[in-house]
């Protein structure tokens, strides 16, 4: 997440990696003639030119991820559809078997626990861990559905998978599962918090829902803060902060919309700007372009809401003109702020 030492052009690198076939050996020939290569590198490049190697690392990993998702989704639907047929016992046993096999494999391969980042032994390991976790979730869901293990205590029924997910995420050091766990925390609190659904569902009428979102956002930000503070799996901070910030910002904007008629509703906007300022400072300190941009954009939105409201509240006058002028200058101003921000990060 510390993006400080990332190269400035990583956007365009993606194209090269996805589309390129071979390196340009003529170019290295030229560079060599200019005396820019050491003997060792020249040897390696000559060897490469004689027998070039293509890496299918990302292709294989993408396919692995897709296969795992297809398999676990298919098994989940199978259980769901066969829930009252004879074969469900067999399916259940198969699912439990797959889950246990995956965990046994991962447990054998995993490196010892440490509060710092533990790198995974490989993508196969990650994929099998994910498969094991997803099938385990199906299994727990089935138990609840069929035998009502947790009765009607739905809180407990969602709480247990969440705890399990957090436990797996921390003990096996896996970000994908951490994201699942955060999502489950949201389900437990009565909301599903994938940003996509946040935007699509846009079910903002209920005040209680909005305040739940805000509370959840705050809790996630607290998690992010403590993760950083106590250096306990510090690379998990990104996920907490990512979900927490979007949630808190969007929910507070929604709260402003809900309380629009209330005279004190602008306090919500002040809250957003204050939070954006804090995030900006934090992003500067930790050299995170992503969170800096978020702070700038959400700050821009909040400021625009304030200004538009002020302009429109003047009964007569060139309201629309003023708003257009405001947006032109504000876009330029925030652009300069963004430039200053990225220069500051690069120079530090």
């Amino acid at each position: 997440m510390e993006e400080g030492n990332a190269r400035p052009d990583f956007g365009s690198n993606l194209y090269i990696e996805a589309l390129k076939t071979f390196m340009d050996f003529d170019l290295f020939e030229e560079l060599d003639q200019e005396g820019l290569l050491t003997d060792d590198s020249r040897q390696k490049i000559k060897q490469e030119a004689a027998s070039p190697l293509l890496s299918v690392f990302w292709d294989i990993n993408t396919l692995l991820g897709l296969a795992v998702l297809a398999l676990s989704t298919g098994l989940g639907i199978l259980v769901y559809k066969n829930i009252d047929s004879i074969s469900h016992g067999v399916i259940l046993a198969v699912i439990a078997g797959i889950s246990i096999a995956c965990f046994v494999y991962c447990n054998r391969k995993r490196l010892p626990f440490s509060p710092a980042q533990v790198h995974s032994p490989g993508y196969l390991y990650d994929s099998l861990l994910l498969l094991g976790t997803l099938t385990m979730l199906s299994f727990v869901a089935y138990l609840q559905f069929q035998y009502e293990v947790f009765g009607s205590r739905y809180g407990l029924a969602t709480f247990l998978p969440m705890i399990l997910l957090f436990f797996i995420a921390y003990s096996f050091d896996n970000l994908a599962i951490l994201n699942l766990a955060i999502l489950n925390l949201g389900i437990w609190m009565g909301v599903t918090i994938t940003p996509k659904q946040l935007l699509l569902a846009s079910n903002y009428d209920s005040a209680r829902l909005i305040h739940t979102y805000q509370l959840l956002g705050l809790i996630l930000l607290l998690f992010a803060f403590f993760t950083q503070r106590y250096r306990f799996k510090p690379h998990f901070k990104f996920s907490y902060q990512h979900y927490g910030l979007h949630l808190l910002f969007i929910a507070t904007l929604a709260a402003y919309g809900k309380d629009y008629a209330h005279p004190a509703s602008w306090l919500w906007l002040i809250g957003i700007m204050g939070l954006a300022f804090l995030v900006y400072l934090d992003a500067l300190q930790h050299k995170s372009f992503y969170f800096g941009l978020l702070a700038i954009l959400y700050g821009f939105i909040a400021l625009s809401c304030v200004v538009c409201r002020l302009i429109l509240s003047v009964p007569e006058g060139a309201g629309v003109f003023l708003i257009f002028y405001y947006f032109i200058f504000a876009a330029a101003g925030f652009g300069l702020l963004l430039k200053r921000f990225s220069n500051q990060i690069k120079s530090s």
């Binding site: 294989i60 297809a70 676990s72 739905y154 599903t192």
Partner: protein, 391 residues
């Protein structure tokens, strides 16, 4: 032709090649530093995230400037004529030219935003102006072709080159459509042929050393033409298009004449791509082929629902998983020029944890069938039902 600083582009290319070689472990850090100081970075290229920010802000600024100008001249009824967006588009193109000539920005988000804003105004104005002409589709696709080719050539824009490729195919399509029934019957083959010719042309230009700064654009053209080559013979596409040409209701699934040709094309072409990709060591062909297998599977399932979706998912997942484990075993040592060793770093993906976010996004549908979410806090329209058929 290219508006950007040529020397800057040359240095950029050297940087990219050197960094790729460094990531593959072929260059030492010392060499990389030496090369970079011998060829300093002359262009302003902020990272992807800053670029997105610039893009959004610039787009907002441009839109409101145009709105303001329009409002000033509102009394003259300028909005009612297509000449107005064309005029604004020309103004914004002039701004773009001036900006890029005087600044060292190269795809910094600012020039991208101006470029897309300009092309939106010009393209929209042209479509508006030409839409009531006879042969409007022909004229429009010709204009879009000219416009996007110019932008692709002058600003080295990858997406513009894809659009140009599609516009060229549209031009062929609408021209050939004039030929009546014969044109309709031979349409798939004409599109196949033109896609192949475009691919071949792009391939030739790539292997020559003349278009050295257009490598990425050419790759985009190649991907687009490979996809259209497949789509032109895909059974589903051909059948639905012929429904449209014969003004049949869209739901009719009547077999089309010479269906076996198209079935063969649908199922075999992805495999041909993959085989060619492996033989010619082209990741581009290989990856397009892998993607198209999914398209072929979708087409087959569209007409023959032999298996329900969950069995398809389980079986395909299990097959792919075991296949990959076999490939991993096979590639323990590099074979046939392929290796599983990681030879590139994806900084921005790693930094954004994008992968894990995607997994969470996909899995949020799959894992929540459990608990019919009786929300503790009321509300919450979500939960339940993992049976998404559009996986």
């Amino acid at each position: 032709m290219i508006i950007y600083n040529k020397r800057g582009l040359k240095h950029l290319r050297i940087w990219e090649e050197a960094e790729a070689a460094y990531d593959a472990g072929l260059l030492s850090e010392l060499d990389l530093k030496q090369i970079k100081s011998a060829y300093p970075d002359l262009l302003y290229r902020p990272n992807l995230i800053t670029r997105i920010g610039y893009f959004i802000l610039m787009l907002i600024g441009c839109s409101f400037t145009c709105l303001l100008i329009t409002l000033l001249f509102e009394a003259a009824h300028v909005i009612e004529h297509p000449a107005w967006p064309l005029f604004l588009g020309l103004c914004s193109y002039a701004a773009l030219e001036l900006f890029v000539r005087n600044k060292s920005d190269f795809h910094s988000g600012l020039d991208d935003a101006l470029l897309w804003f300009t092309s939106g105004l010009l393209g929209g104005g042209l479509i508006w102006a030409l839409s009531d002409q006879p042969n409007s589709t022909l004229l429009i696709s010709a204009c879009i072709l000219l416009l996007s080719s110019w932008f692709a050539l002058r600003f080295v824009n990858t997406l513009m080159s894809s659009i140009a490729c599609l516009a060229a195919l549209a031009l062929v399509f609408f021209t050939w459509n004039k030929a009546g029934t014969i044109g309709e019957a031979t349409m798939p083959f004409v599109i196949m042929l033109s896609s192949y010719l475009i691919y071949n042309l792009a391939q030739r230009i790539t292997s020559g050393q003349k278009a050295i700064y257009y490598q990425k654009c050419l790759s985009f053209v190649k991907v687009t033409s490979l996809l259209s080559l497949y789509a032109a013979g895909n059974y589903l596409v051909v059948q639905k298009l012929s429904n449209q040409l014969h003004h049949l209701p869209a739901e009719t699934n009547d077999p089309i004449p010479f269906g076996w040709i198209f079935w063969g094309w649908t199922c075999l072409l992805p495999l041909v791509y993959i085989a060619l990709g492996i033989r010619t060591k082209s990741l581009l062909l290989l990856r397009v082929g892998l993607m198209l297998i999914a398209a072929a599977a979708y087409t087959v399932r569209f007409y023959f629902q032999v298996l329900s979706i969950e069995y398809v998912l389980v079986i395909s997942g299990a097959v792919v998983l075991s296949l990959i484990i076999a490939i991993l075993k096979y590639l323990k040592t590099p074979k046939m020029g392929f290796t599983y060793a990681q030879r590139s770093r994806r900084h921005w993906l790693n930094n954004l944890n994008l992968e894990s976010l995607i997994v969470a996004g996909l899995a949020s549908h799959t894992q929540s069938l459990p608990i019919e979410t009786k929300d503790r806090f009321g509300g919450g329209s979500f939960g339940g039902g993992g049976a998404s058929s559009n996986f």
